[in-house]
Amino acid sequence: MSGKRKPDLKVIIMGDYAVGKTSLVCRYIEDKFIKHEPTIGAAFFLKQWGPYNVAVWDTAGDERYTGLSHFYCRNAGAAILAYDMSNPQTFESLWARFMPLLNSSTEKCLKIVVGTKMDLIPPEERDITLEEGRKLAHELNEGLDISKLACEPYFETSSKDGSHVSEVFECIFQYCLPLSGDQRSKFGLSTSTVDLYEKEPKRATAKKGCC
């Protein structure tokens, strides 16, 4: 249908190998959770969001492919930096590997930090706290006006059970591709905004419940 149109937004996903980058995109776009082969180079996904076309570039995680990332980052409107919540080393990689990369190639690019595999780690065993995650996310976005961002640039997700996955993308799209209320209802999108703060107390009670 819109085969000839240029995408209105490019979102790139980066992060260490096997943190679940492809799983995150697939959960959002196909609403499926399956085992993926490692990505070599990049894989491409498309999402129609309201009147807009969004291209999602899913990149290879292996450190050896870092050399290609400059090229992949070009003209990205937003970057999802994914780390595996059950593996603190992958969080370190975001500092060590990807921050320098993004700083040099794209200034105006919105950066969203996303923790994955939330289902794998019990809250009391996690190494990276919510505060640390948010701190990194804010530092990454220094020099960018994120006051109109409807949510914190930090999410904790599980592609396995689907929690908070679509919120990540919705948050990015709302920031980069603003829609009027009319447009939103025309395309059948929810009008409520997502806020991680709001969900916080809910999760805390859930925690109490299971322990």
Binding site: G3, K6, K35, A43, F44, A60, P88
Partner: protein
């Protein structure tokens, strides 16, 4: 060792034959039991009613059928194939209901005959198709047997003199028989590095030690970021562990508990200890997997080490960006020469070849094409060398040119990084064949070296 692929094909055939014989037996049974008024649809009529007539009709039909089937060459077989239509029997109304008006009965009889005729025609059509498929299969098997005889008796014993003969090269193009595939790959690749089976054993031993050491230290101190930075190549061990089970997941043989899990794990671990400077790069597991499917583990290691030592593989696995660009530029030149219209389209879209070539070059198509097609591509890759990687790429672009011309940047990128799953070897090779790899008498290596020099100066 015969390859897994051929074995599974054999099993498939066996199952197929088994099924066929079961079905044909079953349909024969129905023929026999259909004689005393057996019918497929409707209630079983009251015992005495209409049985005689039904039997008569069916017998008449059988007689007719037999008469019409005397002509074909395999009357017996066809009899079995078509007999199932006779299970549908026209019956008069049971005695306890008023009988049909003669006109109506005649109409029904005609409809019945038409139905039977259609069913018969359909079955004959299907039978012909099956026969054709079987003949094709037999012909392919014959060809395969013939070609493996030639490989075993003529070419392999005189490898050095025969390998570049026209006969060998022509045979090669149509695919190596699975029984000699591993042997030919190994010979064609050679062993420049003089890797031996003993060396492989030593490397496995060292890799095992290292893994044990890591596991021990893991259990003592849970996590120490200082010695475990992502840039550390020792990290290979954990990536390997992860990737082995992500290799060809649909085959279920490399996964934990599968027959090739340990073999693949050892091979990759051994390579990381053999070449610590290269280590493990994601994607290697696919290449090693294909080798393991076609030869013994030690041979697979020898091939793996030598393959990764080839110029194109060295360039990409070490991310030598200047050389990578030279390869892309060379490819683009052939692209422009062979498919000018599509080249313009890609150019207008600003779609550079690195987007789709990376995956293809790194993995030698092992993730992008069906496994049997991959083996066919590899066959000729050993014959023609690295230029065949790029020729295959152009073959793919040619095969889907029409589709690609109607797509924009992101859709092309999406299409090429996830090719249709139904691509067959014949279809692909039919499209590779017309791709010319000489431009103004300049060969691939000539053009590559000009770009290489340009990059350096």
């Amino acid at each position: 060792m015969t390859s897994i692929i051929s074995e599974s094909a054999d099993i498939h055939n066996a199952v197929h034959i088994l099924k066929r014989s079961i079905f044909s037996k079953r349909s024969k049974d129905t023929t026999e039991s259909s004689a005393p008024g057996w019918k497929l649809f409707g209630h079983v009529p009251p015992k005495s009613s209409g049985e005689k007539e039904a039997a008569q009709i069916s017998q008449e039909y059988q007689a007719k059928l037999r008469a019409s089937q005397l002509a074909p060459s395999h009357p017996k077989k066809q009899d079995v194939e078509v007999s199932s239509t006779t299970a549908l029997i026209l019956e008069n109304r049971p005695m306890n209901l008023p009988s049909k008006d003669p006109e109506e009965a005649e109409k029904h009889r005609l409809q019945y005959e038409q139905m039977i005729e259609c069913a018969k025609k359909k079955e004959q059509r299907e039978f012909k198709l099956r026969k054709k498929q079987l003949q094709n299969q037999l012909r392919q098997e014959d060809q395969l047997a013939k070609s493996s005889r030639i490989w075993n008796n003529e070419i392999l014993p005189n490898w050095e003199t025969m390998r570049s003969s026209k006969k060998a090269r022509d045979l090669w193009w149509y695919g190596l028989p699975p029984s000699v595939r591993g042997k030919v790959w190994r010979l064609a690749l050679g062993n420049e590095l003089n890797v031996t089976a003993e060396l492989y054993k030593i490397c496995i031993g060292r890799a095992d030690e290292k893994i044990k050491l890591m596991q021990d230290s893991e259990s003592v101190s849970s996590y120490d970021p200082s010695c475990d930075t992502p840039s550390n190549k020792e990290d290979s061990v954990s990536v390997i562990r992860l990737d082995v089970s992500r290799t060809f997941p649909h085959l279920c043989i490399f996964q934990k508990g599968g027959p090739y899990h340990d073999l693949l794990h050892s091979l990759l671990g051994a390579y990381a200890t053999y070449r610590p400077d290269v280590g493990y790069v994601q994607g290697m597991s696919f290449i090693a997997g294909i080798l393991l499917l076609n030869m013994e583990a030690a041979d697979a290691f020898i091939c793996f080490a030598n393959l990764l030592n080839r110029p194109c593989q060295v360039t990409f696995f070490r991310m030598d960006e200047a050389m990578m660009t030279a390869y892309y530029k060379t490819f683009e030149e052939y692209f422009k020469e062979n498919l000018p219209v599509l080249y313009d389209h890609f150019d207008k879209q600003n779609l550079t070849p690195d987007l789709y070539l990376i995956d293809w070059i790194f993995l030698l198509y092992s993730k992008s094409l069906p496994l049997d097609v991959v083996c066919r591509v590899w066959d000729v890759f050993w014959r023609d060398g690295e230029e065949f990687i790029f020729r295959t790429a152009l073959g793919i672009l040619r095969a889907y040119e029409k589709t690609l011309l109607s797509l924009d940047f992101i859709h092309i990128a999406q299409f090429l990084t996830k090719l249709p799953e139904d691509v067959t070897a014949d279809f692909l090779f039919h499209n590779i064949e017309p791709i010319k790899m000489t431009i103004d008498k300049k060969k691939f290596s000539n053009i590559l070296s000009t770009y290489k020099d340009n990059g350096e100066s």
